[in-house]
Each structure stands twice: as structure tokens, then as C-alpha cells.
Amino acid sequence: MTTLNRSLLAALLVLFASTTCNLFAEPKANGKAAPDSSGAVSNDSYMGLSGEELWSNNCLRCHNIRPPTMYTNAQWDVIVHHMRLRANITGQEQRAIVAFLKSAK
């Protein structure tokens, strides 16, 4: 492996370690949001945006939004999980969007 490759890999590892250790905390149990800066636990909003706004903002960036009734709750769980990988949204956004989609039905 070349020096450049080693340097890049090292940089990635440092980034990974720093993000893991310093910036982020393990989320609460599945389906519950981590506390926000005020200490309140919120499952249906993130950064001042409601689940509906997050759903609209994130999905519309690439494609038309599909109505909440188009899929079952269980299917939305899988679809939003998959979309989290594509759109690089956070776990809190994922949960807020899923909560909105389920409640909107």
C-alpha cells in the first residue's frame, strides 16, 4: 500500500474515531430519539423541523414524495432505513420521518 493510500486511510480512521468519540452519542432504544440540546426527548422533530417537513425536504431533494398510505408501517420502516443510506440523513431524522408517515395514515 502506498504512502498516499496509508495517509488517506489514516485520515479516514481519525475522522471515524473522532466522530464516534466526540460528536455523537449512541441513540436511545429503537424508536426513541436521543435527547436534543435542551435535554428533551423528541421523536417527531429534529432541528426545529417536524417529521412532515423532514419527509418533504429530504425526499423532494431527489424525487416526488409518495403518500404515507402507499406502504404499510412495516414497509415504511424498511424504505426509510434504505433511504437513510442514500440521502445520508441522521438516525433522528429517520425516526421523525417514520413517526410522521405512520401517524399520517
Binding site: 479516514l12 466522530t19 464516534t20 402507499m70 434504505h82 440523513i89
Partner: protein, 458 residues
């Protein structure tokens, strides 16, 4: 071993004693009848169990109709198993039932979670059919079916894979487009391994599906070996807030591209379609994105690699590909609709090398620092705020895309295209497209094309 035998003997004896004493204790109740008191107790237990199930359902809150049906069937099964006054069992049976009931909450949840087709496997994807009439070429119909298999083994673990199935010649082509296992490490970090869409190329990751891509064909600038499409390796990715803004990242290590050295037309270009590596040096790449406000994202992607075959004069040649992108989506009251602006520009550079140094391939020696670039800009408008349904379902698109000439100067010339399209949305994920493309490769006859396409996402 001797000690192990002693332990085993002790365990067997203990089990025997416990079983015997339990059986003795239960004997008085095995006469086949129950008293009124026992009946009342069983009734109370049933009511308590029902309450517990109601509380469980309430806790789950948003259970779908399908899940509800499944829950009911599970409850029915549970009722079937549970003792009833008319079918009174012994105290031993009641004890066992009590034990089962006390564990009912996790068991029921686990059972529901394991039902196939609900929380585990989902088939998504899209299908498309197209007609293309291009100048100087035979017009043709084409079609493809692109199933995406999603398997959420746990809320943190997902397998996703896409196939591309299309008729070709006298048969059918089936291609594995991607297959990846990903794990949600925490709210901000996702790990993935396998064959995945290259994060350095945002178009491929987000806009490639034909029900999402607003025009029938794809921009040449971000394909055709300027940027990778698929990578085989491992990646780490996620998003996180920065104050009131957001950022996202994706970094990966993968098998790198292959440097074309044998063909004079493509000498110096990178072949990203070879998914096995040709040397021990791995490609490293990624993309960082920044969202200053909702609906606006800017990004930078890159990949660096050594694409030459190991043990050849090209083994130390380094390649760097880079890409910048912009995505804007805004709703406008003034324009009574939604505007999408997507743009991406990429450029690649392969270090200086001499191709066919001894002239044995018939085109060398060819000293070359291979550079190539390309990109696209696309704007779309859909009058989503107009009251008339027919107009609201229309969408107009204009795209400019460009690809520079092959770096050897012996291959394809530079090409610039302008495409105008009109879409009609039958549903949020079903679209009928019509487009005309002005395509003029430098120094060649035009390759203007007319397209009709229908695409359905599911």
C-alpha cells in the same frame, strides 16, 4: 473431564428433584374437574391477559392494518392455546399458562417482527420501457426491470441489492448492479460492505433510477469512465448537524479502476467496469455534502487510485477523479410550482505515462498525461400549485451535458448535448416522458434523438 461429569450428574439430579417435586405438588389438581374458585381464578387470568394485550397494542400505537390482522391471528392462536373455563385444565396447566402469559409481551413482539413480508423483506425498484430514434442509427424499443431487494434483518442491519434485467439480442441480460450489507452504528455513522453505488458520483447514487431521472437518457458527463459508478469495497457514511445547517459524508475503500493501455482510442482512460482489482493498491474516495438550508446541497467527491496492472510500467501511475455537485429544490408561490436544479461537473487526471513505448501495438510511443472532464446542468419546473390537475402533472425539463474528447486524441471527439423534455406524472412514481436531444459530437454528423419513455417506481 471428571469434574465435568460430576457437574453433569449434579445438574441431572437437580432437574430430577425439581421435576418430581413439581409433579407431586400438582397431583391433587389432576382429577379432571375444577372448582368455582379455580374457574374464577382462570377467568381473572384471562381478563388480565386481555388487558395486557390491549396495553401492548396501544404501546405499539401505529400498527398497520396488515400487522393488525397478523396480530389478531397471533392472538387467536394464543387464545386457542390458552385454557378456558369450559376446557378446564389442572393447576399445572394454569401454572404453565401463567408462565407463558408472563412472557407474552416479548414473544408476541418477536413473532410479529419475524413475519416475512412485513418487517423483513421488501421488493422495491422500477421498470421502464423506451423508444429511441437517433439520427444515423436504427430506431429501437427497449425495456428493463430493476428490482431492488431490501432485507432488514434487524432495525440496524440492512441488506440491499439491485438487479437489472433487460432483453438483449436473442436473450435476456441479468446484471447484479449492487449488493451491500449495511449496519447503523449510531445516529450519525453507517458502515457498509459489498458492491455499492460509488459515493463519489452523486448522480448514480441518487438520480439514476428512471422514475427519478427526469429525462429518458442519462448525462454523458458523469458516465463514460470519467467517474466510477459502482464500487466493490467498504464504506462509512452518515450525516450530522452543524449549528442550524447540516453536513453529510461518505468515504470508501474499494477495488480501483483499470487503466486502458492497449487500445489507441481509449489509451489513458479509466475503466471503472472491472470489479476485480488489478493490483494491491486500493482506490480511496468519498464525498462530502453541505446543506446550508433545507432543499439546497453542495458536494465534492473524489477518488484516487493506481489503475495500472501490477508489475507493468504503469503500476506507479496515479489517477485522481474529482466532482462537484449542486442540488436545489424550491417551491415557488410566484411561479406556482416547484423548481429543481441539478448540476455536476467531474474531471479526471491520469499521471504522465508512455503508452505502447516500443510501438508493438502500432500506435506508440504515445506520451500522455490523460485528462478528461464532463458534466451536466439540468433545470426542471413542475406547476404543482396550479389548480388544474392536468397542468399540475406536467413537468418541463432542460438539460445541458458535455463530455470532453478521449485524451489520446485518437478516440471519440468531445460531445455537447442539449435536451428538452416534457413529462406527465400519472402517479408520484409513474411518469411518461417525451424528449428531444440535440447532440453534436465535434467534427461529426449530428446524433440528434427523439425519446419516449414510461417509467414506474414501486
Amino acid at each position: 473431564m471428571k469434574i465435568h461429569r460430576c457437574f453433569l450428574a449434579a445438574i441431572v439430579q437437580a432437574a430430577f428433584i425439581i421435576t418430581s417435586s413439581a409433579a407431586i405438588a400438582q397431583d391433587p389438581a389432576t382429577d379432571g374437574y375444577v372448582t368455582r374458585k379455580e374457574y374464577e381464578e382462570l377467568k381473572d387470568q384471562m381478563l388480565a391477559m386481555k388487558k395486557e394485550l390491549d396495553a401492548l397494542k396501544k404501546e405499539r400505537g401505529t400498527v398497520s392494518k396488515q400487522e393488525s390482522a397478523e396480530s389478531r391471528s397471533v392472538v387467536d392462536v394464543h387464545k386457542e392455546v390458552a385454557p378456558t373455563p369450559g376446557n378446564a385444565e389442572s393447576t399445572a396447566g394454569a401454572d404453565v399458562h401463567k408462565e407463558v402469559t408472563s412472557n407474552a409481551t416479548p414473544s408476541l413482539a418477536e413473532l410479529e417482527a419475524s413475519l416475512l413480508g412485513t418487517t423483513k423483506i421488501l421488493i422495491a425498484g422500477w421498470a421502464e420501457a423506451m423508444f429511441e430514434a437517433r439520427n444515423d442509427q436504427v430506431s429501437t424499443f427497449s425495456a428493463s426491470f430493476n428490482p431492488i431487494f431490501l432485507w432488514e434483518l434487524t432495525p440496524k442491519l440492512l441488506f440491499d441489492s439491485r438487479l437489472e434485467i433487460e432483453p438483449s439480442g436473442g436473450g435476456t441480460n441479468v446484471n447484479l448492479v449492487n449488493a451491500q450489507i449495511s449496519y447503523l452504528l449510531n445516529d450519525y455513522i453507517v458502515l457498509g460492505v459489498g458492491e455499492f453505488f460509488s459515493p463519489s458520483n452523486v448522480f448514480v447514487e441518487r438520480f439514476e433510477p428512471q422514475w427519478i431521472n427526469k429525462l429518458p437518457d442519462r448525462p454523458i458527463g458523469v458516465y463514460h469512465d470519467v467517474l466510477p459508478n459502482i464500487s466493490v469495497g467498504a464504506q462509512v457514511r452518515g450525516g450530522f448537524p452543524i449549528g442550524s445547517t447540516r453536513a453529510n459524508y461518505a468515504f470508501y475503500v474499494s477495488n480501483g479502476p483499470v487503466l486502458n493501455t492497449f487500445d489507441p482510442r481509449s489509451a489513458g482512460t479509466l475503466d471503472f467496469n472491472s470489479y476485480t482489482d488489478n493490483n494491491d493498491d486500493k482506490a480511496v474516495g468519498g464525498r462530502v455534502g453541505f446543506l446550508p438550508i433545507p432543499g439546497v446541497e453542495v458536494g465534492y467527491g473524489f477518488e484516487t487510485s493506481r489503475p495500472g496492472f501490477q508489475g507493468t510500467p504503469f503500476s506507479d501511475v496515479r489517477a485522481l477523479v474529482q466532482s462537484v455537485d449542486l442540488e436545489i429544490t424550491r417551491d415557488s408561490d410566484l411561479l406556482k410550482g416547484r423548481i429543481n436544479l441539478f448540476a455536476q461537473y467531474a474531471w479526471s487526471r491520469v499521471d504522465h505515462a508512455v503508452y505502447d513505448p516500443d510501438g508493438s501495438l502500432g500506435f506508440g510511443p504515445l506520451p500522455l498525461t490523460a485528462r478528461r472532464d464532463g458534466g451536466y446542468a439540468e433545470i426542471a419546473y413542475r406547476p404543482t400549485k396550479v389548480d388544474i390537475d392536468f397542468i399540475r402533472n406536467l413537468e418541463m425539463i432542460f438539460r445541458w451535458d458535455h463530455l470532453s474528447a478521449d485524451p489520446s486524441g485518437l478516440g471519440d471527439p468531445s460531445e455537447t448535448r442539449w435536451t428538452l423534455g416534457l413529462n406527465y406524472w400519472l402517479s408520484p412514481s409513474t411518469v411518461v416522458k417525451a424528449a428531444y436531444e440535440w447532440d453534436k459530437p465535434n467534427g461529426e454528423r449530428n446524433k440528434n434523438a427523439l425519446f419516449f419513455q414510461t417509467a414506474m417506481g414501486f
